[in-house]
């Protein structure tokens, strides 16, 4: 993930994060589209890519203060901790986990880290059910980029396995009575 040449890592570090400039920067006004001046004033809030924010932040003294993107803010953290499965990650944070790893150190309270892990653990179930689901589009939709990759890989295994089970002179099949049994249906429902 943190490989220098990793495409997904490049995409992640290209995500914009809100930053607050702590010093006056001459000739840097172009960073802020709404600025009239050539110079960037201290205290301006601008969204800049993470790679730029990181390098400005690591200067001594730091030139910017990095703020949390909205999905990592208190409100969204509460939603995620309550039920992460209801959140549409595709819309809200394509690279939720990857960006979160970078962002976590700018969170003073350190709650982002816990939220990331909680979210991952809760949403694993979605990957699991999406990989066996026949209605793949609607179950695929709310997944983030890395979750989609993982689901696609799981689907390939699943397809290979069911292909193997079906092929041959005598496919092994479940008895009708068993498949229609209420208990079993319930067990499957509980699983998903």
């Amino acid at each position: 993930m943190t490989n220098y040449l990793s495409i997904s890592d490049i995409l992640v570090t290209n995500e914009k994060v809100p930053c607050k400039f702590l010093h006056d920067l001459p000739k840097m006004g172009f960073l802020d589209p709404s600025a009239a001046d050539d110079d960037l004033k201290a205290g301006t809030n601008v969204e800049i890519p993470l790679w730029l924010a990181e390098s400005l932040f690591s200067r001594r003294p730091p030139l910017v203060g990095v703020d949390l993107p909205k999905i990592y803010k208190e409100t969204y953290r509460e939603i995620l901790n309550a039920d992460a499965c209801t959140v549409d990650m595709h819309k809200l944070g394509q690279h939720f986990y990857e960006l979160g790893c970078y962002i976590a150190k700018h969170d003073i309270k350190g709650e982002v880290a816990t939220t990331l892990i909680n979210t991952f653990q809760q949403r694993f179930r979605m990957i699991l059910s999406a990989s066996v689901s026949t209605d793949s589009i609607s179950s695929f939709q709310p997944l983030s980029a890395s979750e989609r990759d993982r689901t696609a890989a799981a689907m390939i295994t699943e397809a290979a396995l069911s292909g193997w089970l079906k092929r041959g002179d005598c496919p092994l099949t479940t008895a009708n009575m068993v498949a229609n049994h209420r208990k079993r249906k319930r067990a499957e429902m509980e699983m998903l």
Partner: protein
């Protein structure tokens, strides 16, 4: 790994056949087999047995576990236990599929056996899925794979290890940067394990 590769590995299991022809010993990479005596039971690898059966050159002796009562017991045991029970055979699914496919007339009550094996497989697969979810939820750092067969382990293969890797990576990356005073117990229950 592809299921067919596992089938290939499973084909090396030894099964009993009763040949209807006589022949000298044959020398194979996996060992020497024979001599073949018509009417006398002997052991050969599964792939050879299936091949001979397809050529109508032998009759397959059903393995001990391929018996309705035995399988019924296994199924009950599997239903009762929260964990996975020991299967009579490391490649039970492969063996059942090949033997029942090629030589269902040699196995008494083949149709019922077919169904019950599939039932056992379904029970185990659904157990595997629920315990995978429970493992991730509980935040255990490893799962025990006791009594799982190769085919079953393979069915969770890219997903579970990748997810656990990712989770570990998130933990490591975020932990480094968080201050030491943070309450770490909420996200590191590394001691707890899950039977999967």
């Amino acid at each position: 790994m592809d299921p067919y590769e596992i089938e290939f590995i499973g084909e090396n299991r030894i099964v009993s056949i009763i040949p209807n022809f006589s022949y000298d010993k044959i020398y194979l990479i996996c060992g020497e087999f024979g001599p073949f005596r018509a009417g006398l039971p002997m052991n050969v690898p599964l792939w050879l047995a299936v091949m001979l059966k397809q050529k109508q050159k032998c009759r397959l002796v059903p393995p001990d576990w391929m018996d309705l009562d035995v399988l019924e017991n296994i199924k009950e045991e599997e239903k009762r236990s929260r964990f996975f029970t020991k299967m009579p055979n490391e490649h039970y699914m492969v063996e059942a599929k090949l033997i029942l496919g090629a030589a269902s007339e040699d196995i008494p009550r083949a149709a019922e056996i077919k169904t019950i094996i599939k039932d056992i497989w379904d029970i185990r697969m659904s157990k595997l899925r629920t315990s995978m979810d429970a493992l991730m939820k509980s935040g255990g750092s490893y799962g025990r794979l006791d009594h799982l067969t190769m085919m079953e382990i393979n069915s969770v293969k890219p997903l579970l290890p990748a997810a656990m890797d990712e989770l570990y990576r998130i933990k490591m990356m975020t932990r480094k940067s968080t201050p030491a005073t943070l309450n770490t117990s909420t996200f590191s229950q590394s001691g707890s394990s899950q039977n999967i």
